[in-house]
Amino acid sequence: MSAVQDLPAPRGRRAGAFRGRVNEFSGRHRSMSVMIGMAIVAAVLPVLAVVPPFSSFQTQNAWIDGFTNAGVFVLLALGLNLVVGVAGLLDLGYAAFFAIGAYAYAYAASPFGNQILGIDIAGLLGDAAGLIFWPMLIIGALVAATFGILLGAPTLRLRGDYLAIVTLGFGEIVPIVFLNSDELTNGTNGIGGIYRPYLPGIGSFSAVNPWPYYVTMMVLVTVVMIFCYRLAGSRLGRAWEAIREDELAAAANGINTVTTKLLAFALGASTAGIAGVFNAAKLTVVSPDQFGFVVSFTVLAMVVLGGMGNFWGVAVGAFVIYTINNVLLKTLNQFFDTLGIPILKDIDFIGLQFLLYGIALVAMMLLRPEGLFPNSRRKRELHAEVTEPGQDEMTLPEVTEEGGR
């Protein structure tokens, strides 16, 4: 990590001494700076929710709830970023792992699921049945990772778009399987009555109080983000980047490409598994229609728009897209009603939600194809490309720079 300091830091110098010192600190204490950053974010968001103009959209509790849901997508985006952004494997069926994590929790923590597994969590733990949530975060991740490996093993030798298509197929198959295996999954209705998380001292989380979920989510995001940073800086992370840039060269340099790619799939999937467990515990119901292609695609859009490979960028991208789509567009009506702007007041924005979402996606992509916060390395690649149009994957013969992300 000391290599970071030795590199020239043109950005820091330009932006002034304070910025430089922050950069230096974050380069040296990466985990600590993630924790500090997330703590600031977690503290600022609830304050923002009560400040105009945000307060005119909805109540603070509704905002907190929305932020928590956005957190689910931040987790998903961080996980997919490992697969797509860092390792360069295009996965269009990422929602499948989300679904697997959610159903894993549903089996462990609902009367219906327990009956199928032949266990009785509620009988064992009584009111504290939701305690199972905490170990299930890890078990759900492991289950999803297992499926990631199962999917990856036969398909990872495919390249580029073909891999994308196979994952797309997988992403379609998983919800169909959950939908059609009636006896095991209760079909369309899904599995309901899932226990909410339970924490000694707080008791069972409740639907009316979004704060425990919010805090839990912030902790999860922090942990996953640290995990991602650590991974990306590790030998494995560098191996992923090498594969992304040039698989043949990576293999020639002694990287076991199969294992490395499988690990990318497994670790990406495990993050989705965690998000799935959390989401199931929050909604208390899982059903196949929660995990369609729209989810896979939305997460991919978050990763691309945030800036592939840049963890903070991806997290912000996920947060922004989720908030635009699920909070702003849904509450625009109220907003314009309160403002009383004549023409805008009469438009039914809820009916137009997906239209506006589509337009927003196209517009954002046209304005900034490299994402809002591009990975510094990728940005250089794009600039290098100006002289060579038509090449979308460049291989740069330079040493991996750790400090860039």
Binding site: R157, Y162, A301, L352
Partner: protein, 343 residues
């Protein structure tokens, strides 16, 4: 893993040029496949499958052409097909037709009109989409146009939903569905024959267009090497626009036939149909029109077979399962050429 060998030996070709030599073998494969399918399904289901397959094939060709020329998975294409069903039904209802037209002359005139109108409108829509959402991103990172494609897909769905609502809309079946040709004890709906004929006719026409005309040659050369084609005086922008026009027009034609065959449509029709058609394109070997047609028919057969054997609900899963298996064992698709590493 096999990559080093592949890069060394494979010709760096994507085939919009599939037309040339192996065509005979390809048609042979198709014929054998058809015979097997007929044996498995029986006559009535065979005809159903053929009709459905023809529709998928028309949509799949659009995917394959666009992918062949700019390597973009055009996720909006399924929705172009869906919009096609609505354009066709609006055209017919605005002329005051709601049911079968039995007067042969009027029927022919109407069919020609509705196909021409829908295909031209959809072709223009396709060009418009390319112009606004894809062309500005042609040199952007690979994933950028993919995102706009799906954004366009949302936009199209929502526009249709605004005009026609979220429910099923009836489409006038101007072609009488009770006309049959009886061979032995098998009743063949004339509509099915018509649809398959139209579809196959269009495919052959497209093959001739790509293989024999100047524009077709421009398309092939652009697919092969865009920069070199530009240096040889090919107008790249125009060629790509024409590719989109043709692909979208064929999707429009598929929309018309879908309306004639099934009589209903809905705003979200394009998503599933698009995925399946895309699967078809990949199955046949993406970039290869004959392959896309073959893939379309195969998907049609798989779906109808799933229904026939009582696993209708599993149809999509079977389709994608087949896709996964084919890609794992034959990544370039059934008729695709082994393409070298494209990284």
């Amino acid at each position: 893993m096999t990559a080093p060998a592949a890069t060394a030996e494979a010709p760096p070709a994507r085939s919009l040029r599939g037309a040339a030599s192996p065509a005979l073998i390809q048609f042979g494969i198709v014929a054998v496949a058809l015979v097997i399918a007929f044996g498995v399904l029986g006559a009535a289901q065979f005809i159903n499958a053929l009709t459905l397959g023809a529709i998928y094939a028309l949509v799949a060709i659009g995917y394959t052409m666009v992918y062949g020329i700019i390597e973009l998975i055009n996720f909006a294409h399924g929705d172009v097909f869906m919009v096609g069903t609505f354009v066709s039904l609006s055209f017919l209802t605005s002329l005051g037709f709601s049911g079968a037209v039995t007067d042969p002359v009027l029927l022919v005139v109407l069919l020609v009109a509705v196909f021409a109108f829908t295909m031209i409108v959809m072709g223009l829509v396709g060009v418009l989409i390319e112009r606004t959402a894809y062309r500005p991103l042609r040199n952007a990172p690979r994933l950028a146009p993919l995102i706009t494609a799906i954004g366009v897909s949302f936009i199209l769905q929502n526009i249709v939903q605004i005009f026609y609502g979220p429910f099923q809309t009836n489409s006038p079946q101007i072609f009488p569905t009770d006309w049959f040709i009886t061979i032995g004890d098998v009743q063949i709906p004339v509509l099915s024959i018509f649809i398959v004929t139209v579809a196959v006719g269009m495919m052959i026409g497209l093959q001739l267009f790509i293989g024999r005309t100047r524009l077709g040659r421009a398309m092939r050369s652009t697919a092969l090497d865009r920069d070199a084609a530009a240096l040889m005086g090919v107008n790249i922008n125009r060629t790509i626009a024409i590719t989109f026009f043709i692909g979208s027009a064929l999707a429009g034609a598929a929309g018309v036939t879908y309306g004639l065959q099934y009589g209903v449509t809905r705003f979200d029709l394009g998503f599933q149909a698009g995925l399946k058609a895309f699967t078809a394109a990949v199955l046949g070997g993406i970039g290869n029109q004959v392959g896309a047609a073959l893939g379309g028919f195969i998907i049609g057969f798989i779906e109808v077979a799933a229904v026939a054997f009582g696993y209708g609900r599993w149809g999509p899963a079977v389709v994608f399962g087949v896709l996964v298996i084919v890609l794992v064992f034959r990544p370039a698709g059934l008729l695709g050429q082994q393409v070298g590493e494209r990284a």
